[in-house]
């Protein structure tokens, strides 16, 4: 199987995630886009691990670490989102601008 084909899917999912982070207002949808970007990194790690025939399976182990970090990130992220909603009655990221100016 061609390696570049898999890497292209990963690049496509990463770009979709970049678009979502930049264009979405709802903070939970921004978190979903971040999940897409983290998943595209996992595809890269597993594809290079399979390409290099790694005896230590380092690519897959680091993919597992990325999954663990994604779980931690979404837990903290949702706690922050709930806190903002409790204080401001909105989770639109462009309305939470108290630190902006």
């Amino acid at each position: 199987m061609n390696l570049a084909l898999v890497l292209t899917l990963s690049a496509l999912l990463f770009s979709i995630g970049v678009y979502g982070v930049l264009a979405r207002r709802n903070a939970v949808l921004v978190l979903m886009s971040i999940e897409l970007m983290l998943n595209s990194v996992n595809i890269n790690l597993v594809a290079f691990g399979a390409h290099l025939q790694d005896a230590l399976a380092a690519g897959q182990i680091f993919a597992l670490f990325v999954i663990a970090i994604a779980a931690a990130e979404v837990g903290i992220g949702l706690a922050i989102v709930l806190l903002i909603f409790r204080n401001r009655e909105t989770i639109n990221v462009d309305e939470v601008d108290i630190l902006k100016w």
Binding site: M1, N2, L3, A4, L5, V6, L7, T8, L9, A11, L12, L13, F14, S15, I16, G17, V18, Y19, G20, L22, A23, R24, R25, N26, V28, L29, M32, E35, L36, N39, N42, I43, A47, G49, A50, H51, Q53, A57, A58, Q60, I61, L64, F65, I67, A68, I69, A70, A71, A72, G75, I76, L78, A79, V81, L82, L83, F85, N92, V93, D94
Partner: protein, 164 residues
Amino acid sequence: MNGPEIIFTALAVIAAVAGILVVTTKNVVRGALYLVAVLGSIAAIFMLLGAEFIGWTQVLIYVGAIVVLLLFGLMLTRAPIGAARSVDNQQRGLALVVSASVFGVLTYLIWRGFGDKEIPLKQVVRTEDIGNSMFSNFILPFEAISILLLAALVGAIVLARRDK
């Protein structure tokens, strides 16, 4: 194209279409369900690449836990159930330009650097291999990750609890 490439392309098309729907749909709850389709087809791609443990971990943690957590987040912040008017901001054109250029540059570099490389698809990494490697060669990062998860758990509880 050989057999695995055809299967991969079919899964990749599902992942890409569902991914585009995640970032463009007006209905936020449906966005989370399209995310399930993306994550499920990526799990199938992992198994196609010989990474069965990563594939099942993806199903368990992403589809089973993270999407449910995101749905809880949507529910607790009183997300609109039907189609919402304003889920996108005014920078959609700019965001499209940025993401299209990221995709263009990455794709050009990938095909220039790795266009002729092949994945052999001979080796299936079993769970036993992952466990042996993780608890011998990668024990220090593993412990660091467990400390990070503990810190994240405590942090989430401290952030989300109501002050008396």
